[in-house]
Symmetry: C2
Subunit: 468 residues, 2 copies
Amino acid sequence: MQQITGARPAVDRVASLKAMLAAGLGDRLIATEAVRRQYASSEGHHGEHLPDLVARPTCAQEVQSLVRTAANCGFPIVPYGAGTSLEGNAAAVTGGLCVDLTAMNRIIEVSAEDMLCVVEPGVTREQLNAELRGCGLFFPVDPGADATFGGMIATRASGTNAVRYGTMRENTLALKIVLADGTLIGTGSRARKSAAGYDLTHLFVGSEGTLGLIVEASVRLHGLPETVLAGSWPFETLDGAVRTVIATIQAGIPVARIELLDAAAIIACNRHAALGLPERPTLFIELHGSQGSVHEQLDFIHAVGAELGGGELARAVETEARSRLWKARHQALPAARAMIPGAVTWVTDVCVPISHLADAISRVQEAVARAGLFAPILGHVGDGNFHVFFVLPPDDREAWAKARAIEEAMVAQALSVGGTCTGEHGIGIGKREALVAEHGPEAVALMRRIKHAIDPHGLFNPAKLFPE
Amino acid sequence: MQQITGARPAVDRVASLKAMLAAGLGDRLIATEAVRRQYASSEGHHGEHLPDLVARPTCAQEVQSLVRTAANCGFPIVPYGAGTSLEGNAAAVTGGLCVDLTAMNRIIEVSAEDMLCVVEPGVTREQLNAELRGCGLFFPVDPGADATFGGMIATRASGTNAVRYGTMRENTLALKIVLADGTLIGTGSRARKSAAGYDLTHLFVGSEGTLGLIVEASVRLHGLPETVLAGSWPFETLDGAVRTVIATIQAGIPVARIELLDAAAIIACNRHAALGLPERPTLFIELHGSQGSVHEQLDFIHAVGAELGGGELARAVETEARSRLWKARHQALPAARAMIPGAVTWVTDVCVPISHLADAISRVQEAVARAGLFAPILGHVGDGNFHVFFVLPPDDREAWAKARAIEEAMVAQALSVGGTCTGEHGIGIGKREALVAEHGPEAVALMRRIKHAIDPHGLFNPAKLFPE
């Protein structure tokens, strides 16, 4: 596993900051090592980075106050949500003050009329959707984990519904942000569109906590569809499955979800949950709309895929039947993990223009086979986005080196066809060199100038995004 | 009409820059007053601002070179496209070098497979759609004029299709930009989504030429719908029409277009083109999809509106019949202009959360009636965005003052309900105070810091966006 370290604040500075912050936060300022250790790692494979202190503010004013205090001491500030990011995005690489925003978890407003809601950063997507039950609306962005809004916005997260409903980029309307000097600003508005000045909202969406702390967000809601039609569909070849997806997207069929599991992923799911699925590349499809339109759309997709090696297409409308059909998709990550006892998973992603998707996935599969690794592939294929789940024994250095080489080649290949080094996980500490390879040194220099203009002392989430 | 002036470059500096630029550009560097006068105004009401020089570069390298030369002389640079912006966005307020990008009008690539194209900034939307004819794809963003891509991106333009297909924000994938030191950077990628670093693309979309010059853009294309169904539909009251729109959007009906003309606009159209329409608030609707789905959707909308005072709903599928139905919508601006001979139009817009739309429009109508002005209202109502077309005798100072007061009240009201001071026209010179009212001084200060970080000497499009 990769280990990154940096200069940590000296012990006396920690003690001094602790005293100052504790005056306002009381027992919501924590220095106990056992507690700090809970914030030392996330779901990714980037090891442990222990923060010096942990603060649990309960309102924006407390965040402003603690930022001012830490800034006066030149103390690094690392925001933390559900801890489910995958690229070390919230790792306290240089120690510092970890700001756990999960206590700020109020749903401030739901406006069914304007199809939006206002949430604090610690609200999770499942919490919001539970709250919305019964009002005919839902929030569609669904990264694998039950992430917080602060984290999803900070990493420009997406998920299975993005092909139809967009990512956090399209679904974030407005933000409230605490800047490095403690100032609170508002960005965006409740309007669906605006041409009023620089798009600060979208500068903060995906900034991974390096520009300011998100203390409130207004996000779009969507109407629950009249009918949900699910399908699962094995293909003879990966190429046939992906070409079916490409033809579907190009025909403008508004699929809500179209996901791919490769044969290795299906094998893992069968072993894990005795699903008895054909061990072939399989598409999982979901359509949202009127009863007539969803079947019409799936008929179209079926006609296309039947000529490209599609086998038996299973359909379901009722909730339970749909859950059964999609079970493999939902269990893919734990199933993959269970294939090698004690293994660690390293999940990486790229996103390519859709015409290059089949080729990009095949190259990774071949490299994985050559390396003798186990690494199922799962794709949000409607967007050209796919994930590789390396399942690795934690201490097998050779296997980790091979996985790293495959990831590097996968990123290089994605960039060579105009794709991106990460579709939804972000840069964190894991893909900082790839950021430069993707955008070029001049564009990254511009990003650094923006960082410096907004956070001149480099307080927020140090050692992220940019190579040293 | 509003007049804004600033310190212009001295005559000898103009002569010196002229000599330097002419060495590279030859007769594509113009100092003749008659030609410069063509660039002194746009479609808006913001008067004449004569640039000192006009350059017509033909490639990115020429743009880099002229930016370097002008920057060395500290000479302002104002990009110019089709000249169709409405808020003085491309006005050479302090003189300087006007960079006419319309000679850079090559469509570099159309990728039908990846549903995107790459264009130079001088390509217009109609030029692109003509090129796309026959390949089953189209570009949906349609501001009233045949604007250039450079201009549409710079002002974050939208139009009638935005409710379904998004604005320039959603449809711009990647940019190439010449920065103030002549550096060429690339932003974004060809992937549909990315979590790789700061979203520079969306920082430049809507930056109104104040951060850099756009020399290339990759934009999304969409599949031509199988069926297009158009409707026109008069209502007893504006409130009934708007409430029909609100219910349609809230039900998740994917309308491609849903436009409102108020009774004054219909009166102007009848007078202008003898359309014989009922002189009542009228919705113009367009649905895109399969033959079954579009009729099913319009039936739903019809059922809703019939209970809200909707009269006879005319439907059409064939191209010519659809054009007839939509004729009033397409002629609204010239028809309004023709109502007062010799009049100037001042077109302004705001965008509000949709639940406030009927109230916002009614308030403006009442104020217009009280002021004794003629000002039809036209709305992209699916987005909560509406335009007021003040038709004003050019020298009637009192009428202009009344119009300004109505605009200010309209902006204040939009902001009071969480809307924005402009949905699609931008800030330019006309709404600079409104920018501060909308975002607050702290957020605007942050925008200024970003401006300073990217364009430290304030070369690009001076006196725009920010109040003096």
